[in-house]
Symmetry: C2
Subunit: 461 residues, 2 copies
């Protein structure tokens, strides 16, 4: 055979094969490939499920059609009926014994905040005694960043998806550093929560009610054009939200001092909008949930101990495995040994196509989580391989306005070995520490292989 063009060698998988060829000046094209993981029979069964293609198309369509309007701001006691001693938390179900440091810290802080205990020690006795109730935020249609602890007195953003007649909820963001969601519970944390309950929540309620609704999905679409991926960067989103409610806030009739303080608090916290993106993403994924035969992931979430996912075709069943620990950059003197395993409902952003899946749109944060700009572009490109579609509402300018990769497909993950990319904050392992860094992490493959087995078991014979 005579080659009419310069030869090129295609190498799949291990780069051990590519390097010696390169040293011989051979043009090498590396293709990422791993042998499929999980049970081959389960994979074959699910892939052969005649419902799957239509079910996934249906899930995608519902996700793309979801709306997300901020309609009210209300205390959790009122809107979720949360009673004293009831707490919500991030991730799949867990009890005190298995809870990680940051989740314990946040529960201690919430107990102090609610007046259930006067000291951290007393709170710990209460919580370990089992006289309280712990439930995942997701079980109530809510989401919470990091520890994600919600107690009855906390005010919640209330979002509506009229197209699918669904609601979602998230607490108000406290800012960075020593904050409850990272497991801190010192006086500054509790004082801030009190001000948020006494002043900020009621003020935002007044503003939102005066303003009508705020289109959170539209703001999320714009922020993706402004370098925010909606998980670790929410700067433009926060500013646009502030712009939206500002005139109503000023006109609210509230004391000028409170209005100025609220404006200062919101505008001084680039992550304020995270707690609006998250429930908006919850509405997106919720719209795709519960479709028999669909292998689309509808929840990815972590409680600091376990990573849990839910899949459209298997409803609210959790598939869990031990959470990985993020790798990235650390604040101050903190290092890898200080980091708690992955925690928070914030991976709902990735589940809806934002966050790590849309890293390409946020090159400004890749250095903050320990990556490079080409990494960011490559990451999003790779995510198209494991998702069922693209969301034109979240158009990524640098990819020529291609929509965010949306709807992680369990079968694609298992077949390719490519895991969804999550970028995240890192909480200190020890209760009371707070944030120690930010970085990159993936879910454990075990969640997906378990989900695959359950999907296979649910295929009609």
């Amino acid at each position: 055979m005579r080659l009419t063009a310069p030869e090129s060698v295609v190498v799949a998988g291990a780069s051990l094969l590519a390097d010696p060829l390169r040293r011989q000046a051979v043009d090498v094209e590396e293709v990422q490939w791993q042998p499929p993981t999980g049970d081959p029979a389960a994979l074959a069964t699910v892939m052969a499920d005649r419902r799957r293609a239509a079910a996934n198309a249906h899930a995608l369509e519902a996700m793309l059609g979801a709306e997300a309007q901020l309609v009210d701001v209300l205390p959790a006691s009122e809107v979720l009926g949360l009673q004293p001693g009831e707490f919500l938390h991030a991730g799949p179900p867990i009890d005190w014994d298995r809870a990680s440091g940051p989740l314990r810290g946040a529960l201690i802080g919430a107990s102090l905040f609610e007046g259930l205990a006067a000291t951290p020690e007393e709170a710990e006795r209460l919580l370990s005694g089992g006289d309280v109730s712990l439930a995942p935020c997701h079980s109530r249609g809510a989401v919470g960043p990091m520890a994600g602890v919600v107690s009855p007195s906390m005010w919640m953003f209330c979002l509506r998806d009229e197209a699918n007649d669904a609601s979602s909820y998230c607490s108000l963001n406290e800012g960075l550093g020593k904050v409850l969601r990272y497991g801190a519970y010192g006086d500054e944390v509790i004082d801030r929560l009190r001000w948020m309950t006494d002043v900020l929540g009621p003020l935002l309620q007044k503003a939102v009610r005066k303003q009508g609704t705020v289109d959170v999905k539209a703001i999320a679409g714009q922020m993706v054009q402004m370098g925010d991926e909606g998980h670790n960067r929410n700067r433009a989103g926060t500013l646009m939200f502030l712009r939206e409610v500002l005139p109503a806030l000023i006109d609210s009739g509230a004391p000028t001092r409170d209005v100025a303080e609220a404006a200062r608090f919101v505008s001084g916290n680039d992550h304020f909008f995270l707690n609006l993106v998250m429930p908006a993403c919850k509405l997106v994924t919720r719209a795709g949930a519960g479709i028999p035969g669909s292998s689309v992931v509808t929840v990815m979430s972590r409680n600091g101990t376990d990573f849990g996912i839910q899949v459209s075709g298997t409803g609210e069943e959790w598939f869990t495995a031990p959470a990985n620990t993020p790798e990235g950059l650390f604040l101050g003197d903190y290092g890898p040994k200080d980091a708690n395993p992955d925690i928070g409902d914030s991976a709902i952003t990735e589940t809806a196509g934002l966050g790590g899946l849309s890293m390409a749109t946020a090159p400004a944060i890749v250095r903050f989580v320990g990556g490079s700009v080409p990494d960011a572009l490559a990451t999003t490109q790779r995510m198209y391989d494991i998702t069922v579609g693209e969301n034109p509402a979240f158009a990524i300018p640098v990819l020529e306005f291609r929509g965010a990769p949306t709807g992680v497909d369990v079968t694609a993950v298992v077949r390719s070995g490519v895991l969804p990319q999550i970028n995240t904050g890192m909480a200190g392992r020890v209760a009371g520490t707070g944030q120690v860094g930010a970085g990159l992490v993936t879910p454990p493959m075990g969640c997906f292989t378990q989900a695959l087995d359950a999907l296979a078991a649910a295929v009609p014979s």
Copy 2:
């Protein structure tokens, strides 16, 4: 000779040569090249000027070191000593007879606004009679977008560069559509200007004075990381400016109704920050001005008839040629025949490395001016060929945080034939029309060849 790698043909200039090679499956590398324009003797003289390298390095260093703090907001009468009947305008000097439609329209509007005339006809008689004074904004350290007309009662942003002990000024942005700077002068235009003078200006003055100063350069640096190139897109910049002055605005003691209206006006106008980026860029380029032997461009500006540039080594001398007409997209039913030639001092953004020179950072606007995302990236890459350095304060994320191409070099433009890329709004040709579109444009080469001649004449023998 034996080739050890596949051969490749490098083709410079006309692609007529490249296409037949490509049809024969030859690997072709096209290099953009044009024969140098201008007087070869002048080019040789300037290139041989021993002062040039050091002078350009000095100019660049001064430009990179420039600061830009908003320190006050004041009426033009007060801060520029503008008297009744004195008007500033964009671009190089021009009189009424040669003024384009939009400049005439803006002057008519300013005359009505100042009460110098009761009707447009009366204003036109006044203006054509020669009893008024017209001078470029640049002659007073000011800049004005589009027609750039400043009259004594208009309030001005006052910026300071303490490092170079310099000041710059710009009026407040009116928003889009029927506005004075696009040559409209109807009642809505005049009413808006009155409100800006009676309410907005004094309010912003209160807020800025209460707040201390606002670091406009820092905001500009952040906006470049948020998809704004600072000329046709200032959305993130506007939001960050609003955030900065907001608490002071709320606390100003002004009536709540006025504060809410001002917040609504500023936040509803994505271009509000343009009038702060422009004077910040003026401070950048001013810092590099007046250095003997330097071939760096320090002003690019248009009055709607002529394009004019100034060059560091030749001080405040203008080099002018007929302005080109932008090509781009039109609003509503407007078309190319409705567009006025290029107008405005806003090309000061390009002169400082932003705007069209930093198109790569703003893929979201390329479609708005009629380009594609790869065009945007290629444009900025090309601009590095005609600039003397990069500004790390304006880091472009998608180019791996490379600084904006800064300091257009007259010799590089003349040698390469590559002109600075400007992106711009388009004013209607007929006075009173307003904005008709937005697009891309370049300066006429004649400005650069004239500047080259002047630089050559100034080389010590």
